[in-house]
Amino acid sequence: MKIKAKIIDKDGIRRTITRLAHEILEKNKGLNNLVLIGVRTRGEFIAHRLREKISEIDGSEPAFGILDVTLYRDDFRRRLKQPEVSVTNITCDLNDKDIILIDDVLYTGRTVRGALDALMDLGRPNTIQLCVLVDRGHRELPIKADFIGKNIPTSINEEIKVKLAELDGEDSVYLIESPEEEED
């Protein structure tokens, strides 16, 4: 694993989260009907930060949940390593809600496809909007994000590594060459 460049630093991530929070509130005209859903693992922590920021701006906290999409993956037969499943934790009703689906990196779009199926099994939301910290391109499915922290054009041999203090001890986004394993 070779680091090519540090693309976003700690302050950059903080400012990006602030902007995304404002954009989400502006587009949805407040947070009455909003549910923030973070996709495990890093989407969960970005969603936490967005929730904090939104409640700082608006004064009240939006509903919140965590989604594990492992059971909805389409690549079980193609991966060498069996992915580890963890628990989905969504306690609120999703029917007729406006859902902000939150992940760290948007790449092939296959995780989002799985997440959409998973959300549909949990209820019938009014809308599902996608919010990502980084969009690195190379989509394999007709999926696009509604809120994007940063567009980072990449080559297929590169990888985007989002590091978050909660998990990795630092806040930053790196561009990395020749990934060890496929990740989406």
């Binding site: 492992t70 390593k81 069996q82 499943v85 628990v87 989905t88 934790n89 099994d121 949990l122």
Partner: protein, 306 residues
Amino acid sequence: MSLSSRHLIGLFGVPKDDIQNILDTAVTFREVLERPIKRVPTLQGKTIVNLFFESSTRTRISFELAQKRLSADVINFSASTSSTKKGETFKDTVRNIEAMKVDMIVVRHESSGVPQFLTRISKANIINAGDGRHEHPTQGLLDMFSIREKLGKLDGLKVCIIGDIAHSRVALSNIYGLKTMGAQVSLCGPPTMIPRGIEMLGVKIYHDINKAIAENDVLNILRIQLERDAGTTIPSLREYHNYFGVTSERLEKYNPNILILHPGPINRGVEISSEVADGPYQIILDQVTNGVAVRMAVLYLLGTMN
């Protein structure tokens, strides 16, 4: 993380990491069972055959539900309606079923060793749903899952299995699994129901139910097989109840904090009193719910292995 074997024949020799992995994965499926749509697409396109050569209600329904909730295609086969009745050998029956391209076989048979034999004649993943007096690994796993869910751990717990140990595959799977996970396992019952030499597995033996209740954290009560036992291993069902029946008087007197498990079907007034079977100590119906989650975990881990 993948399991170290592509079959589940028994819990004997299954490493701690594998058991831990299955129990942790079952937590995920427990959540799926609480959803409005209790189905995930994970095993779409996989074909699973349930080969039941011995009657079963709970285990068969539990496996079938687990398979359907993972979106697998399920075929049920029971011996009474099959061509084994017409004289076909077991091996030929299995070969024919396998020729129809199945991915996994769940098997129950009255003879010990049939699932092991299947692993040699079939390419499918084999899951043992109970074979003779050998093992019933998914029951052992769901018992461990239920204990862990209730008490938060297995390591260091004292668990006593009560009843007809000699004829019980549930007892053996419990002994192997619990010991691997660090629990202390003991057995309790009349000497006619406890096989000689079983202490070699590292289990303590009680013949006094009161003492067993007093000294353990968990009781796993086995069913007395009404159709077989009375008159052979015990004088009468009433006598068994008097000496080994778990009653609320005994629990209140000797250990009011104990946790009661029973794999079912229960015989009220024989091995367990109605009061205990419906009372605050037991988690009998949680075991049934957890059984589906644990079986989903096993099917998922074996079915998505490469």
